[in-house]
């Protein structure tokens, strides 16, 4: 890459300069316009003056010889739910269902919202600062989460969805299988040691008893998706060879995420073919070899992922370990 594209130094690239001139009218004004927060909510703080008055009042009551038990009533942990019938609170442990023509909006504490489509069934499992967990048994939900990664978990009959800072749609079928489509950010989809890492613009299927399938771009063909399903969920089938060939032949540069996942999912004998196809789009970085990938070297797999430009595996590994540690800690 020219230094000019990176830091505007060195010999200027005429085409980049022309693009900069063309696009300059779209830029943020300098300085930016004043920030107007007058009608916005503020960070809630306990006013010091009120705290002092409360303390003084308590001391006065005790000094007056009054026997007083102060009961501080904390709100029951739960998530606010809004439906056409009104607002209510979903407490921990309770199931919630939407009828055939109903939708609901669920506030996930202070970290995001879920819109639930008709015919859905869900349960709040736990909610506390930094950790919010629910079970989604069936239906379709749209989640928008603005908290840092690894705070919002959705259990389904066949997998666990871990929010990594994103917006996504999750559908769970009657048989417990489902589909997750990511609109913004990333979602981790994990069952035991099987994990899928799904970026924006990608989707992944999940099946009961198996877990998440390989992520695929939403621009791929139906044949491509069916071939991936054969590789993921029927690896001993007779037409696996044909399915892998179809995936490799139809893969384009955008499918690098799919190919990277396949490196660990196809039989050892086929890894070389996947390596070659991925290498044709994203050359393996220094230190990553065909033999190493064929041997399943985790360090090399991580290094290659990092070169895709979708975020580093160090963060992913940290989050992954954290949610495994927390898997049954509700």
């Amino acid at each position: 890459m020219s230094d000019y594209l990176w830091d505007k130094r060195g010999e200027a690239d005429p085409e980049i300069e022309r693009l900069e001139r063309t696009l300059q009218a779209f830029a943020q004004a300098e300085p930016p316009p004043p920030l107007d927060l007058r009608a916005r909510p503020r960070i809630q703080r306990v006013p010091r003056r009120r705290a002092v008055l409360l303390l003084a009042a308590s001391v006065a009551l005790v000094a007056g010889g009054l026997s007083l038990v102060l009961v501080v009533r904390r709100p029951e942990p739960g998530w606010p739910v809004t439906t056409a019938q009104g607002r209510s609170t979903l407490p921990v442990g309770q199931w919630f269902e939407t009828g055939a023509g109903d939708r609901a909006r669920v506030e996930v504490a202070d970290i995001g919202t879920i819109t639930v489509e008709p015919g859905a069934r869900l349960r709040l499992l736990s909610t506390r600062a930094g950790h919010h967990r629910m079970e989604f048994a069936r239906g379709t939900m749209h989640a928008t989460i603005w908290a840092p990664p690894n705070q919002f978990f959705v259990e389904t009959p066949s997998t666990l969805a871990v929010d990594l800072g994103c917006a996504y749609t999750l559908t769970v079928n009657e048989d417990g299988g489902g589909l997750l489509t990511v609109l913004v950010g990333w979602v981790g989809f994990t069952t035991g040691d099987r994990e899928s890492f799904i970026p924006a613009g990608f989707a992944a299927v999940t099946r009961p008893g198996i877990g998440p399938g390989t992520p695929y771009s939403e621009r791929t063909s139906e044949a491509y998706r069916q071939a991936l399903a054969r590789l993921d969920f029927n690896p001993g089938g007779a037409d696996v060879e044909r399915a892998l060939s179809l995936v490799l032949d139809e893969s384009e540069e955008r499918d690098e995420v799919t190919l990277w996942h396949l490196l660990t999912r196809v039989p050892d004998a086929d890894r070389g073919r996947v390596f070659d196809r991925l290498a044709s789009f994203v050359p393996p970085p220094t230190g990553v070899t065909r033999d190493g990938i064929q041997a399943g070297d985790r360090r090399m797999l991580d290094a290659w992922w990092d070169s895709l430009g979708l975020g580093t595996t160090s963060l992913w590994r940290t989050w992954s370990q954290q949610w495994k540690d927390n898997s049954y800690r509700r």
């Binding site: 830029a27 930016p32 916005r40 809630q44 603005w146 800072g165 994103c166 924006a200 070169s307």
Partner: protein, 173 residues
């Protein structure tokens, strides 16, 4: 690869901690520092005429939620995530009809039709590339600045710039 703006990150973390205690001047400084990044992230997704309003909304949301941010050094990535979500929400509610050419013609120089075509081409790229290219080509940020403000690693930004630019050249030829 070393993270160039380590000092700036420290200053950002200090500002975030101050803002979390209610220091409005600290939050105003954060706004000055991050407004361009948020503007670019939003512009990569929705019509220009909607962007300024969404940027204000992003910072209002950030102020409201700032107490839930446990790692002040992660402010940039956290803010970028809010910006992406807010842009997505706005995109769902409004049709991105770009009465933009008129708007631009009335503002600054350049060829608005060509600018719109280039911006559309950038927006058609995969998300990671389009966002990084808008921050570089529209907002004028360097690669190191993009990494520091968005929380991405410099290596990721470098890859996004390189591959995004390659795809953009192909689209524009």
């Amino acid at each position: 690869m070393p993270r160039v703006p380590a000092l700036a990150e420290t200053e950002t973390a200090r500002l975030v901690r101050s803002a979390q205690t209610g220091d409005r001047e600290a939050f105003a400084e954060l706004y000055q520092r991050f407004a361009r990044m948020v503007h670019g992230v939003v512009l990569a997704r929705i019509a220009r005429t909607e962007v300024d309003d969404v940027v204000q909304d992003v910072f209002a949301t950030a102020l409201e939620r700032l107490g839930s941010l446990r790692e002040p050094a992660a402010f940039g990535g956290w803010l970028a995530a809010i910006a992406r979500h807010r842009a997505l929400d706005r995109g769902r509610r409004t049709t991105p009809t770009e009465a933009l050419a008129d708007h631009m013609a009335a503002t600054r120089g350049g060829d608005p039709v060509e600018a719109l075509a280039v911006l559309d081409a950038i927006r058609s790229l995969p998300e990671a590339y389009s966002e990084t290219l808008v921050l570089r080509l529209v907002e004028g940020m360097t690669g190191a600045e993009i990494a520091e403000r968005t929380g991405l690693t410099p290596a990721s930004v470098r890859v996004n710039l390189h591959r995004g630019m390659k795809l953009l050249r192909e689209k524009l030829t």
